[in-house]
C-alpha cells in the first residue's frame, strides 16, 4: 500500500517486541545504581581501598616491621619520632614508619573484612539453608540455636568467643568477629527461603516434579542472594570495626609486627593522651572504608527493594 501503513506496521512490531522484552530485576537494579551518586561514591571508596591493598607493597617506602626510627623513641620522656624527611607521618610507638604501616595495613584490614564475611556467610548459609529448605524439627533446632546466639549483643559475643583462645592470633580475631554474623546470615537466608517455599515459581517447579535439591539450589538460593549481598557489604564494615574493638579491649592479635588498622587503632589507645595522632590515622582509614562499604550496601538495599522501584 503506502509508506504510511508501513509506518504503522513498524510501530506495531515495535509494540510486540517491547512486550516480550522483560527486564530482569538485577538489570533494573543496576540501571538505578549506575545513576545513584551515593552508590558511586561508596563504590569508588571500596575500589580505591582494594586497589590500595593490592598495590601497597609497591607504594610503601619502608618495611612496616622495621624499627628504623627506634633511636628517636624514648619511653621515659614519652617521645616518638615526629614527621621528618622520608617519613611524612613520623614513626609509631616503637619507631616504625607510620605511613608504611598504614599502607600495608590495608591488606590485613581487607583480609579481616573479607574472611570474616566469608566465614560468617558460609556458616550462616549452611544453617539457614538447612532450616529453610528442610523445615520441621531441623528448623526448630537451628532457629533456637540462632536465637540463643542473637540474645548476646554482637560485640559481647565476639569478645566471648575471642576469649576462648589462650593466645589470640589474627585468625582467632577473624573467627570471633565472623561468628557474630552467623546467626544473622542464617536468619536472613531462612526467612527468604521460607517466603519462597510457598511462592508460585517454587510451587510450579515442585508441580513439575523438580527434585527438592534442584529446587533449593536452582530456584530458592539464587533468589535469596539479593539481601545476602546487601548484608555482606554491611558486614564487611562491621567486621573491620569489631576487630578494632576487640583490639581496643586487649583481646586482639598481640603480634603487632604485621600492621592492621583495627589493631593499630586499638594499640594506640595506651598512648592516646600524649600521641593521639597514632589513633587518628588508622581511625580515619577505618571510618572512610567502613563508610564506603555502608554507602554501597545501603544503596544496594534500596535498589533491590521492590517497594522503591516506583
Amino acid at each position: 500500500m503506502s509508506t504510511r501503513t508501513d509506518k504503522i506496521d513498524a510501530l506495531a512490531e515495535q509494540t510486540a517486541r517491547s512486550d516480550s522484552a522483560g527486564v530482569s530485576v538485577a538489570a533494573a537494579a543496576w540501571r538505578r545504581l549506575r545513576r545513584n551518586p551515593v552508590f558511586l561514591f561508596g563504590a569508588a571508596i571500596v575500589v580505591a581501598f582494594v586497589v590500595l591493598a593490592l598495590l601497597s607493597p609497591w607504594l610503601a617506602q619502608h618495611d612496616p616491621t622495621e624499627r628504623m626510627l627506634g633511636d628517636q623513641v624514648s619511653r621515659a620522656r614519652d617521645q616518638i619520632p615526629p614527621p621528618q624527611e622520608g617519613h611524612p607521618l613520623g614513626g609509631d610507638q616503637v619507631g616504625r614508619d607510620l605511613l608504611s604501616r598504614l599502607l600495608i595495613g590495608s591488606q590485613q584490614t581487607l583480609m579481616v573484612g573479607v574472611l570474616a564475611t566469608l566465614i560468617g556467610f558460609t556458616c550462616g548459609l549452611v544453617l539457614g539453608t538447612l532450616a529453610g529448605a528442610i523445615g520441621g524439627w531441623v528448623d526448630t533446632v537451628v532457629m533456637r540455636a540462632v536465637d540463643v546466639m542473637l540474645s548476646i549483643p554482637g560485640l559481647l559475643l565476639a569478645v566471648s568467643i575471642g576469649a576462648l583462645f589462650a593466645s589470640p592470633t589474627q585468625f582467632t580475631v577473624i573467627l570471633a568477629v565472623a561468628m557474630v554474623q552467623v546467626p544473622i546470615f542464617a536468619r536472613l537466608l531462612r526467612g527468604s527461603m521460607l517466603a519462597q517455599r510457598h511462592s508460585d515459581h517454587v510451587l510450579a517447579a515442585r508441580a513439575l516434579g523438580v527434585k527438592q535439591r534442584a529446587i533449593v539450589f536452582r530456584h530458592m538460593l539464587p533468589n535469596s542472594l539479593g539481601p545476602v549481598i546487601v548484608q555482606s557489604t554491611l558486614v564487611l564494615a562491621i567486621s573491620i570495626i569489631d576487630a578494632a574493638a576487640l583490639s581496643f579491649l586487649g583481646l586482639g592479635n598481640p603480634d603487632d609486627r604485621i600492621p592492621e588498622w583495627g589493631a593499630m587503632l586499638g594499640q594506640a589507645q595506651s598512648d592516646i593522651d600524649s600521641h593521639p595522632h597514632l589513633a587518628y590515622w588508622p581511625a580515619a582509614c577505618i571510618i572512610v572504608v567502613a563508610l564506603g562499604f555502608t554507602l554501597m550496601g545501603e544503596s544496594l538495599r534500596e535498589a533491590l527493594d521492590p517497594k522503591s522501584r516506583r
Binding site: 533456637r144 536465637d147 540463643v148 540474645s151 548476646i152 549483643p153 554482637g154 560485640l155 559481647l156 569478645v159 566471648s160 576469649a163 576462648l164 583462645f165 589462650a166 593466645s167 564494615a237 570495626i241 578494632a244 574493638a245 581496643f248 579491649l249 586487649g250 583481646l251 587503632l265 589507645q269 592516646i272 593521639p276 589513633a279 581511625a283 577505618i286 571510618i287 572512610v288 567502613a290 563508610l291 555502608t294 554507602l295 545501603e298 517497594k307 516506583r310
Partner: protein, 340 residues
C-alpha cells in the same frame, strides 16, 4: 494473649537455660580455667590438684553444672577474681547495674527523641538537603568505631574545652546520699540538686557516644517506614475523606509507620550493652560494661558468666516486651486466633 505471653516466657527460660549451660561449658574451656584464675599460673601442681578437687572440678561436667545451677538459684554466683576481687559476683552486678541502666536509658531517649522526628521530617522532604544530610550523617555514625567516637568526645568536649567531666559517675567531692543506686534519681529524691545535676552531667558524653548507633538505626527505619506508609492506599483514603493534616499524620501515617520502629528500638536497647562495654571503658564509668571489659582482660570468670547471662536475659525480656507492645498497636496480631 495470655497464653502467648506464657509461651514466650517459657521460651525465655529455655534460652537462658541453654545459654547458662553453654556459658558454663565456655567458662570451663577458657584458657587457664578457674584454678589458674584463682591461683595464678605459677602455683605448684599439688595445690592445683587440691583446689581442683575442692572446687569439684573432677566431677562430670553436668554434675558441676547442676551444682552451679543450685548455687546460682540461691544467688551464689561465686566470688569476683578480677573486677572487684573478693566481692561476690552478684554484688558486683547489683552495684553496677543502676549505673548502666541510667546510661542506657538516657542513650535510648536521645536516640528516640532525635531519630524518630528527624526520620519523619526527612521522609516527608525526601531528596531535600535535610534528608540527604541526615542520611549521610547517620551512615557516618555507623562507620565510626564507637570507642573512637567516645574518645573524640572526651578529648574535645571534656579535656580541651572542659565543658564536661572526663570520667566517672560523680565528682568525688560531692557527698551524696545513696538511696536507689541511680545517682540522678537519688539526687532528686533527696533533693540534693547539685548531686543530681553532677551525676547527670557525667552521663551526657557517654550517653551521646552510646546513642549513635541506635540513633542511626532508629532514624533510618523511621524514614524508610514513613516513606512506605505515605504511599499506602489507606493514606490516600484518609486524604479523600478530607481529614486534617494532623489527624492524617498521627492516626494514619505515624501509627502504621511506628510498627517496625518499635521492634528496632527493642533490638537496639537490648544491644546497648555491647556499646556500653566500649563507652564505659573510655569514660571510666563504673557500670556493667566496664566490669565486662575488665572481666575479660583479667579473666574474672564468675563475674563474666553472671553478666553475660543477665545481659542475654534482659535482651530476650526486652524483645518479649516489644512483641507484647506490638500487639497493642497492631490489632492484626492482637486478634489473631481469637477471630470470627
Amino acid at each position: 494473649m495470655l497464653r502467648y505471653t506464657i509461651r514466650r516466657l517459657l521460651q525465655l527460660l529455655i534460652v537462658v537455660g541453654v545459654l547458662s549451660l553453654l556459658l558454663f561449658a565456655w567458662l570451663r574451656s577458657l584458657p587457664g580455667g578457674p584454678v589458674s584464675a584463682l591461683l595464678g599460673e605459677r602455683a605448684t601442681p599439688e595445690t592445683r590438684a587440691q583446689l581442683t578437687e575442692e572446687l569439684g572440678l573432677n566431677d562430670p561436667i553436668f554434675v558441676q553444672y547442676l551444682k552451679f545451677v543450685g548455687r546460682a538459684l540461691s544467688g551464689d554466683f561465686g566470688v569476683s577474681t578480677g573486677v572487684q576481687p573478693g566481692d561476690p559476683a552478684i554484688e558486683v552486678f547489683l552495684q553496677r547495674l543502676p549505673a548502666t541502666l541510667e546510661l542506657s536509658i538516657l542513650a535510648i531517649i536521645i536516640a528516640i527523641a532525635i531519630g524518630i522526628p528527624l526520620g519523619y521530617v526527612a521522609a516527608r522532604r525526601r531528596g531535600g538537603v535535610l534528608d540527604n544530610m541526615s542520611v549521610i550523617s547517620s551512615l557516618i555514625g555507623v562507620a565510626v568505631p564507637i570507642f573512637f567516637l567516645a574518645f573524640l568526645l572526651k578529648q574535645v568536649l571534656a579535656v580541651d574545652l572542659g565543658w564536661f567531666p572526663t570520667a566517672g559517675r560523680q565528682e568525688g567531692g560531692i557527698d551524696a546520699t545513696r538511696v536507689t543506686g541511680f545517682f540522678v534519681l537519688d539526687g532528686i529524691l533527696t533533693q540534693e540538686w547539685d548531686a543530681a545535676w553532677d551525676a547527670f552531667v557525667h552521663l551526657i558524653l557517654p550517653a551521646i557516644a552510646l546513642a549513635t548507633i541506635p540513633f542511626s538505626v532508629v532514624f533510618r527505619i523511621t524514614r524508610a517506614s514513613v516513606l512506605d506508609v505515605v504511599d499506602e492506599d489507606y493514606v490516600r483514603t484518609a486524604e479523600s475523606k478530607g481529614l486534617t493534616t494532623p489527624v492524617i499524620r498521627r492516626r494514619h501515617v505515624l501509627r502504621n509507620a511506628m510498627l517496625p520502629v518499635v521492634t528496632t528500638i527493642g533490638l537496639q536497647t537490648g544491644a546497648l550493652l555491647a556499646g556500653a562495654v566500649l563507652t564505659e571503658t573510655v569514660f571510666a564509668f563504673p557500670g556493667i560494661g566496664q566490669a565486662l571489659a575488665i572481666g575479660f582482660t583479667r579473666r574474672d570468670y564468675p563475674v563474666l558468666l553472671l553478666l553475660i547471662l543477665c545481659s542475654a536475659g534482659v535482651f530476650v525480656l526486652i524483645n518479649l516486651l516489644v512483641d507484647l507492645s506490638y500487639a497493642l498497636i497492631d490489632p492484626r496480631i492482637r486478634t489473631r486466633g481469637g477471630g470470627h
